[in-house]
């Protein structure tokens, strides 16, 4: 089910536009891209920031970076690769600027009302929070490969985003899964 993204306001930020792409076309392209990928980009932000405020800031930063880079995108890679690359770059920059390494309590995200019982919804939320927390503790190289895998990218696409070979992706994914398994096992025991 596609995520619903409501864009508040009728105006778009003013940016230089290539001659062959009108501003309206760019805006439409941006909206389509965001409608498709906003939830995934939010999850990428969650893999870099536990704190709800920082996560929202990072998400906005990612959207801004995509909007700024979109006029220069010439289809050298898929749009998914393009947006995930930007998202992870912004995540790296945000993680480097973070003043403390302490993990704040993550605000629990509101879930869509899928008709599930409150208990089931709480359990889903807890599993998601636990998984996100474990992913955040992974070393960067493993974290990127795993989150991109969980977003459904192929190993070839993941290699394009990060800049490593498919073989390297497979190796990192194996290590990431092992580490995550151990981490989730520890969380359950504690």
């Amino acid at each position: 089910m596609p995520e619903t993204v409501a864009l508040a306001g009728a105006h778009r930020p003013a940016l230089p536009v290539e001659k062959d792409v009108s501003r309206a076309e760019l805006a439409a392209r941006f909206e389509t891209l965001l409608a498709r990928e906003a939830a995934a980009l939010r999850r990428v932000a969650a893999s870099y920031a536990a704190d709800h405020g920082r996560r929202e800031d990072l998400f906005q930063d990612i959207c801004l970076a995509i909007w700024t880079a979109l006029p220069r995108f010439r289809g050298e890679a898929s749009e998914r690769t393009f947006v995930f690359r930007i998202a992870h770059n912004r995540g790296i920059a945000a993680a480097a600027r973070r003043s403390t390494a302490t993990e704040d309590l993550a605000a629990v995200e509101e879930l869509a009302d899928g008709g599930a019982s409150p208990e089931a919804a709480v359990e889903r939320r807890q599993r998601q929070a636990s998984l996100q927390g474990a992913v955040r503790h992974l070393p960067l190289g493993l974290r990127q490969v795993l989150t991109l895998t969980l977003e459904g990218l192929s190993q070839r696409e993941i290699g394009e985003v990060i800049g490593i070979s498919e073989g390297n992706v497979a190796v990192r994914l194996t290590r990431a899964r092992k580490t995550l398994r151990e981490r989730l096992g520890e969380d359950r025991r504690s």
Binding site: V5, A39, R42, C63, L111, P139, E151, V161
Partner: protein, 195 residues
């Protein structure tokens, strides 16, 4: 492998738990674009103004130079200024964009930029030291000259060294703070690269 595929599928289901409809505030996005553009414009304008201001001040003082020591100091200051500017511009090479459109290349670029910020701060301290070396004898000569003409030599010392001290303190405080931030950021980035 089927068991492992099931593991990924389970994690995907937990990872992609559907969130409530997202609201992207386009007005906030617009404000951020404006703020960033303004910030970049201010930085560029500040650099241009400081450069122009420095050159104008130099030319004005040089036009009032009474003796060869004044010319020596001004020539020395101009050389320091030009040297620092040339190094600043030269050091920007390779820092505009990542070498490839990948996150690994972006990480390398972020590390290079951090190192460059630290290098710029170190150069700044050397430039400051150069200014002390240049202006200390000049202030002394001016004070002696003023004293000989019956003026307030002490006032010249106080004004001259006072200005240098204020400039040094300001640079020291700001430079230290920026340096600590850059070192912390560099440590994080290098840690990520090791990962």
């Amino acid at each position: 492998m089927a068991e492992n595929d099931g593991e990924i599928a389970r994690w995907q289901a937990d990872w992609q738990v559907e969130s409530a409809p997202l609201e992207l505030d386009a007005a906030e996005l617009r404000r951020r674009v404006r703020r960033r553009t303004l910030s970049l414009a201010c930085q560029a304008a500040t650099a241009v103004l400081l450069t122009a201001g420095g050159l104008v001040a130099l030319a004005w003082v040089a036009s009032r130079a009474a003796n060869r020591w004044d010319w020596v100091v001004f020539a020395g200051f101009a050389a320091l200024f030009a040297g620092a500017l040339a190094m600043e511009i030269g050091s920007l090479r390779g820092l505009w964009r990542p070498t490839e459109p990948t996150t690994e290349a972006f990480l390398e670029l972020a590390i290079r930029r951090c190192r460059r910020r630290l290098w710029t701060l170190r150069v700044g301290f050397w430039v400051l030291a150069g200014e002390w070396l240049l202006f200390t004898p000049w202030i002394h000569l001016r004070a002696v000259e003023k004293q000989a003409l019956g003026g307030d030599g002490l006032g010249t010392y106080l004004l001259g060294f006072g200005l240098l001290a204020v400039l040094s303190a300001a640079y020291g405080l700001i430079g230290s703070w920026l340096g600590r931030r850059a070192r912390r950021e560099l440590a994080e980035l290098e840690g990520m690269r090791r990962d």
